[in-house]
Symmetry: none
Subunit: 225 residues, 2 copies
DNA sequence: CCCGGTCCCCCCCGATTGGGGGACTCGGAT
DNA sequence: ATCCGAGTCCCCCAATCGGGGGGGACCGGG
């Protein structure tokens, strides 16, 4: 069963080029084309393609808005592969939030484009290396590095930070003591100095501080909930 | 100038395979190999490779810890490409936070692996399609996609959710009572039903739950810290 | 009409927490 | 050689928290 692809680009020449290039593949079938966002929504609804190659820069309705509209309203597993000329910057995040499965630049080689279409059709995702790099750096760097917050974190000893993450996991003093193989009194004194150094008054505030400071981040916890 | 690569894997056969495969390329030179994390740190320091192919599962010190140690202490632009057998799950985030520039599975084709090495050496980043997908979904959907978490949040009444955000801000029961213009006993009973409904045992866990579920997000709090 | 659900309030009691002391060891800095 | 910080552990005591019980007011639907 071949992959049903729709191509959306306001430049007829570019659109036709991609369409014929993809059509040459045995397992890819170009079922529709569109020149703007509104037309893209229409052909998505009528032809129900597996993959949509979407340009960002378009009159009438840009690719991001069209992507969001299509992905939100689709009742079949449609994948949108953003294809743009420019080094993306802000577009990346908007596109990914809109529901795009990929983001590649137009200088991509034909073979790589075909491979990209197959990848997203298969349920994977694919980004241009520069985009991946940007996304990783954004993901890896803690968002909030308020100097005042981090500076107070620095005043804690490494052991105290260790205790704090355990506190942030919701563990009681005795539970923390067992985890760290120390006495309950030790944990108690650690928690006390943590609260004192951070200017907090109870462990609930300590948990909040741990999250706000980026010491622990939502999702990286071992607590399943 | 060729790309200087180091290969780190505890299985000598796998390590040798990758090394010879990469060595066949004109623009790639394998300068060192290591069988565990501590050896990896050593060869990284002595050979200063451009790219390190790093396995995760290793005795002595796993690839994640080694990656973090190398990236943090390196004074030259070293790129680490994680190469693992398993579908990553939680390893991905730890690896990317540790400073890895890529994350590919061992079922990758030789040509793609070579291309991946060139990509990361060139400053780009590269992830396996399934990993990219995971990262995108995590990035695009604010935090909580866990149906189990949100469903439990739905069981709370609106008033209880209101109390929960106050709890997550680190307020004591009496402070919450003043904020909401009710009696302290009322807040107490609300907190009790919150803990019961969510299956938690203390308010620190409630704070963690509030953050993990996305009920409150780092940075949107009124607590300045 | 009564019933279930929700919200609000109250009392008691044990467990935990938070704050105040102090003491010992170890390793590094002075 | 001495001091100091970090880490470990102990005491006491007041306050808060968490769990159990109960009860009353309101609202919407059967």
């Amino acid at each position: 069963m071949s992959i049903r692809v729709a191509v959306v680009d306001d430049q007829a020449l570019v659109r036709g080029g991609f369409a014929t290039m993809l059509g040459l593949q045995d397992d890819i079938e170009v079922v529709a084309e569109a020149g703007d966002g509104t037309a893209a929504i229409e052909i998505a609804r009528t032809h129900r393609p597996d993959v949509i190659l979407m340009d960002i820069r378009m009159p009438e309705m840009d690719g991001l808005a069209a992507t969001e509209a299509i992905v939100d309203s689709a009742d079949w597993p449609v994948k949108v592969l953003i294809l743009t000329t420019f080094d993306p910057d802000e577009y990346v995040y908007k596109a990914l939030r809109a529901g795009a499965s990929g983001f590649v630049l137009k200088d991509i080689s034909p073979e790589d484009l075909v491979a990209a279409v197959r990848t997203v059709a298969d349920g994977g995702a694919l980004l241009a290396p520069s985009v991946t790099r940007r996304l990783i750096s954004r993901f890896a760097t803690p968002p909030s590095l308020d100097a005042s917050v981090v500076s107070r974190l620095d005043r804690l000893t490494s052991r105290e930070r260790e205790v704090l993450v355990a506190v942030a996991a919701g563990s009681s003093n005795v539970e923390i003591a067992e985890e760290l193989f120390v006495g309950a009194a030790t944990v108690k004194s650690h928690v006390s100095s943590i609260l004192t150094k951070l200017g907090l008054s109870n462990r609930a505030q300590a948990v909040a501080f741990a999250y706000e400071s980026g010491l622990v981040k939502p999702g990286d916890s071992d607590i399943g909930f």
